[in-house]
């Protein structure tokens, strides 16, 4: 079992990890000693005074290094420990050879190009759909298709949801191996009537979407994305700020000179998150005048003021993805705590030649607000995709209701979302998110161990801001487990991801798809 040998990006280092100590404590508990060691930094577990027999005999279970008295080799306790205590396995770069390092770098570079163009859900789904189509996948028909093993099919909905089906040796009706990856990163949406003038500026009112770490969004360059449906015409789809030559928008921050009182209790209140769109006052030869209103500022970009009320107009970080560190082993980018898993799962599925069971990757809209926002999000699209996967291979496009429900009940879903964990520590498993069924956990662990894919269990449980997608998806009858990448930056404009962890997720999904299930 891999231990959490890495560290979190998010916290100062504290000596040993609870994960390591935990294995030792469990061993002590198994031997009848009280778990007295706790999780303190660099503290080896110490058997309590009076601990019964075997445990008192040497503390050989020390996680941080065996005491000298344990040098007496092959004590029965040591053998027992060897047999039953959790053993750290290789994770991280130390276990990564040169060949794989090259593969990781290439994968990361592909991903960096993808994530640069995936700043809104629509753009991310469009980019993923392009990738899926380029692989030769065909649109899933309503009926009459032949379920040839290895054939690939896709289905999209509303420009915000995407499903990829890879038919296995067993047809979809025998149950699917699902990876469900939400999209939809935190962002600043414009209000319906956003424009106003203040202190010489033209400002835009925003509303939060998702849980934003607001102070990090201050004084950071923002791009404006506008998508507006235009009956009879192609939709308006504009991004301002993505080209280095474009202007950007910004929510300003108060100078520290005058912040001591004004930001003493709260740095920034959500309702204050208004963005500078331009200048409202103009100085001409006739003196100071009111300058152009919002409509005039928007016009050169092809946006009408009335579009703001009916379009999807959103502000996201303009910062381009960038590797972090002289080794380019981390990547900072907007929106990747969601999109990274969607990308990794689709890549894994597209490279799966002929899986034993049929594979379904679902890219779902709406996670940043708990999947409750739109008409076609969350488990709705899950059901629809499974139903469509069965219908496509019937003659009449109408599979019996019972067949669909049996397929759902025979399916296994990994619900992918980032919730922290140790960087370079492997795929994060969160069985406590929604109290996953142990048979589902064991099935995944077998697949990961067969594929030599490192994994970790997080040291902390879900926090308030997180919602479990397995909780929603398991209501369809699937067995579901929350997994994800160790990214602890949710709500920040830039999230930092290890390219090793990204590649590990890709390998984990591939191992999940490749496994031969136990009868």
């Amino acid at each position: 079992m891999p231990a959490a040998t890495g560290e979190k990006l998010s916290e100062p280092r504290h000596g040993g990890t609870c994960g390591r100590a935990l294995g030792a404590i469990l061993a002590l508990v198994a031997l009848g000693a009280p778990a007295a060691a706790g999780c303190g930094p660099r503290r080896a577990p110490v058997p309590a005074a009076g601990a019964a027999g075997a445990a008192g005999a040497g503390g050989a279970a020390g996680g941080g290094g065996a005491p000298a008295s344990a040098a007496a080799a092959a004590a029965p306790e040591a053998k027992l420990e060897e047999k039953i205590a959790r053993k750290p396995t290789e994770a991280g770069w130390a276990a990564t050879g040169a060949d794989r390092r090259a593969a990781i770098a290439a994968f990361a570079e592909d991903y960096r190009h993808f994530i640069a163009g995936a700043k809104t859900t629509r753009r991310a789904v469009a980019a993923l759909t392009t990738m899926v189509r380029a692989s030769g996948a065909l649109p899933l028909p309503e009926k009459g298709a032949r379920p040839a093993p290895g054939s690939r099919w896709w289905l999209a909905a509303h420009g915000k949801n995407l499903a990829l089906l890879v038919v296995g040796d067993a047809p979809p009706s025998a149950g699917l191996d699902v990876v469900a990856a939400p999209l939809d990163a935190p962002r600043l949406d414009l209000k319906a009537e956003p424009g106003f003038r203040k202190e010489g500026f033209v400002m835009l009112e925003t509303h939060l979407r998702g849980a934003l770490d607001l102070k990090l969004w201050l004084s950071t360059p923002l791009s404006l994305f506008a998508w507006v449906d235009r009956p009879g015409k192609a939709p308006l789809d504009v991004a301002i700020g993505e080209s280095p030559d474009d202007p950007v928008l910004v929510v300003p921050d108060l100078l520290p000179h005058l912040a001591r009182k004004a930001q003493a209790k709260v740095i920034i209140d959500a309702e204050r998150m208004d963005a500078v769109a331009g200048m409202a006052a103009d100085v001409t030869e006739d003196g100071v005048k009111d300058g152009p209103a919002l409509a005039k500022l928007l016009a050169p970009w092809g946006i009408a003021e009335e579009d703001l009320a009916v379009g999807e107009i959103t502000l996201v970080p303009a910062t381009a993805p960038t590797y972090v560190g002289v080794d380019r082993a981390l990547l900072a980018a907007y929106g990747q705590s969601h999109a990274a898993q969607a990308y990794a799962a689709l890549r894994a599925a597209l490279e799966t030649k002929r899986p034993p069971r049929s594979v379904l990757v679902l890219v779902l809209d709406g996670a940043a607000m708990g999947a409750d926002g739109d008409g076609d999000t969350g488990e709705f699209f899950v059901r629809r995709a499974v139903s469509a996967a069965l219908a496509a291979f019937t003659a009449d496009g109408a599979p019996p209701e019972l067949d669909v429900r049996r397929a759902l009940a025979a399916s296994h879903a990994l619900c992918a979302q980032s919730v922290g964990g140790a960087v370079n520590g492997g795929l994060v498993l969160n069985p406590r998110f929604d109290d996953a069924d142990p048979e589902m956990v064991r099935e995944l662990l077998r697949a990961l161990e067969a594929g030599k894919v490192p994994y970790q269990f997080p040291e902390t449980g879900p926090e308030g801001a997180y919602s479990s997608s397995s909780r929603r998806i398991s209501t369809t009858g699937m067995k579901a487990l929350d997994v994800g990448l160790p990214i602890a930056d949710r709500g920040a404009p830039l999230e930092v991801l290890s390219v090793l962890d990204l590649h590990t997720a890709y390998r984990a999904f591939a191992a999940f798809f490749a496994r031969v299930p136990e009868k």
Partner: protein
């Protein structure tokens, strides 16, 4: 502008500042067109993108001056200067002085615009590298604040490391630049907001910052600290530097994203470092653009260390300025001696061109609206600085205030009035007091910014335009 240190506050009634700040522009005679503003903005962004350190700013200014026919001069030379001579002096590479010799000798006083080209950022510790020995996790570089910064402005933002190192082996000056565009990587601040110290209030200034530097350890048997080696090797491969060399270095950690236009109308420049490089650039442009022979010797000063108190050999408190002035006095045939120098100072007039805070549209309540600058309405004059009862600041003589207003009005340049926020809200200081201590008649005038000391300070291109014109009008004034 330097954020004021906490000081004992004397309850002194505020003298009446000139009122009617915002819309007093009237009909400025010199209003730039769109194309002129765009060109100016492009040139200014080019300067900001290059001048990421004081040394790089000095290099830029020297190059710009030499291209305009200035001569690289030295305080060690003994030459005579003739009216109309154009000289650029540098104090090592940390402060720079652009000089046009006037028709009257320096003994009769000079006209000076003083700015500072340093700006708040982070600066690496002498031995900054911390890496887990086992190679798991992330190697970090430790840094602390230079000047008044907010911690969250450096949290998960692309950062670059720029500066210079004196190599131990040969004493060579090694210019370091890591994490800018072409490198294909940056550094990043780490997540700090789980630390309760940072949650609710701007942090104290002297905390240590952690900068993510590497996470893929070097391979090879026998390596003692493989992750540290990843970082050290990057420095060695590119610059031939060893860890010991870092002890003698000024390595700044600065936002890696370059300057941008802000606003759909492109009227604003958004960039880190505009306090006070906005006015440094304006003063430089003002001085090198002087035509003919000014009546008094004109000097643009781009000083250093203002954000930490104008200290050190390159700050405005340094007597290097006396040395430079004595050289100019001597070079223009002035009398020798301390008294002559002090007399020349007392006959001199200066603008302290530091960056005031314009009204922030989402925090307008920290300003008093009738005495607050707005972006785009011209440079702003602030008669006094300091905090509380003007403590720790400079309070200009009204004669000088009136004189500057006349000069700007005659040149058709709008001039706003401002102060450093509401009374008792906070405050700050500039270099004005250090020139006033020498006997200069001086007042603070500067092009303003919003979001001061942040990675994306906002300035208005029109304010820059007018600042250049206004400073030049002051430098060549015969008054």
């Amino acid at each position: 502008m330097r954020r004021a240190a906490r000081a004992a506050v004397l309850a002194v009634a505020a003298a009446g500042a000139a009122a009617g700040a915002a819309a007093a522009a009237g009909a400025p005679a010199d209003t730039p067109g769109d194309a002129a503003l765009r060109d100016l903005g492009d040139a200014y962004r080019g300067y900001l993108g290059e001048a990421l350190t004081v040394a790089r700013s000095t290099a830029y200014v020297r190059r710009a001056a030499l291209a305009r026919g200035f001569r690289a001069a030295s305080v060690a030379e003994t030459k005579r200067y003739a009216p109309g001579d154009r000289l650029v002096f540098a104090n090592d590479e940390r402060s720079v002085y652009v000089v046009v010799i006037g028709s009257r000798p320096v003994a009769e006083g000079v006209r000076l615009v003083g700015t500072h080209q340093d700006t708040p950022s982070l600066i690496l510790e002498p031995f900054p590298l911390r890496a887990p020995k086992d190679g798991a996790g992330v190697a970090r570089l430790l840094a602390h604040a230079y000047g008044g910064v907010k911690s969250y402005h450096y949290d998960r933002r692309p950062l670059a490391i720029v500066g210079d190192v004196r190599r131990a082996a040969d004493g060579a000056r090694v210019e370091v630049s890591l994490g800018l565009g072409a490198d294909g990587f940056a550094f990043s601040g780490t997540k700090l907001d789980t630390d309760p110290r940072w949650d609710d209030a701007p942090p104290p200034r002297k905390e240590l910052y952690e900068i993510l530097a590497a996470s893929a350890p070097m391979t090879g048997s026998g390596v003692k600290s493989p992750l540290a080696l990843t970082v050290l090797r990057a420095l060695y491969d590119r610059y031939g530097l060893a860890e010991d060399d870092l002890g003698a270095a000024k390595l700044y950690v600065v936002p890696a994203e370059g300057p941008r236009d802000v606003g759909l109308d492109r009227l604003l420049v958004g960039a880190w470092g505009q306090d006070d490089r906005l006015n440094s650039y304006a003063a430089m442009r003002a001085a090198i653009g002087i035509e003919g022979v000014p009546p008094f010797t004109a000097i643009a000063v781009l000083s250093d260390r203002e954000e930490i108190g104008s200290s050190g050999s390159s700050g405005m408190r340094s007597e290097f300025f006396e040395l430079l002035a004595a050289r100019l006095l001597e070079g223009t045939g002035g009398p020798d001696g301390d008294a002559a120098l002090r007399t020349a100072f007392a006959r001199s007039r200066a603008l302290s061109a530091d960056t005031p805070a314009a009204v922030d549209p989402i925090f307008p309540e920290v300003h008093e609206p009738r005495n607050a600058a707005r972006l785009g309405m011209g440079p702003a004059l602030y008669k006094f600085t300091g905090r509380g009862g003007k403590s720790g600041g400079s309070d200009a003589d009204v004669t000088m205030v009136a004189r500057v207003k006349r000069i700007f009005a005659a040149a058709g340049i709008p001039l706003q009035t401002t102060e450093l926020g509401r009374v008792d809200e906070g405050g700050g200081g500039t270099i004005a007091r250090y020139l006033a201590m020498r006997g200069f008649e001086i007042v603070d005038v500067g092009a303003a910014v919003v979001s001061m000391h942040s990675p994306l300070e906002l300035s208005h291109k029109r304010d820059l335009w007018w600042a250049i014109k206004g400073y030049r009008a002051f430098l060549v004034s015969a008054e």
